[in-house]
Amino acid sequence: GAGVSQSPSNKVTEKGKDVELRCDPISGHTALYWYRQSLGQGLEFLIYFQGNSAPDKSGLPSDRFSAERTGGSVSTLTIQRTQQEDSAVYLCASSLVGDGYTFGSGTRLTVV
């Protein structure tokens, strides 16, 4: 596609529920990154994919967070048993390795 597409754009969920966030990167971009933007913490790295592999998961805040990427394309970030501190905007970016990044418009997650 022309840009990085993320869905849903907004998600409100009850505490304790699981949520899935989707990222559809630019076609041909082998690298995919997830970031989280919250008021208190700024922009934080979560996980990096190269193809379908995730060589760097160092930013995932807890084992409630997981992500996968299939077909070297779409990625899903899953948060299990959501907590209020998970409320944030989740941004996805894709790139050719070593090249610039294109960010999606983000998913605003609110846990109530």
Binding site: L43, Q50, P55, G59, A93, S95, G100, Y101
Partner: protein
Amino acid sequence: ELKVEQNPLFLSMQEGKNYTIYCNYSTTSDRLYWYRQDPGKSLESLFVLLSNGAVKQEGRLMASLDTKARLSTLHITAAVHDLSATYFCAVDMRGSNYKLTFGKGTLLTVNP
């Protein structure tokens, strides 16, 4: 651990004035980025700076990089209201899978 510091975090200016935003980073990095973010929107890439002494300009914004001082500046010339946004600098390194480390952002408000 790579750290990125921006200052000021808040900047209120009058139209027509000049000002500079500073970005310091803690270790040698490969690339320095400046992004703009409007409220509720994603990150828009402004500049990518690759080498010492690099200078790039787009309209009223000019970015520069001093790798020896580990300092980048974003200079605003004759500010206009449309420049009101949050500006982030970020750096990446090949050795860390090119994941971005962001500064906390500078909220710029240009008053008519």
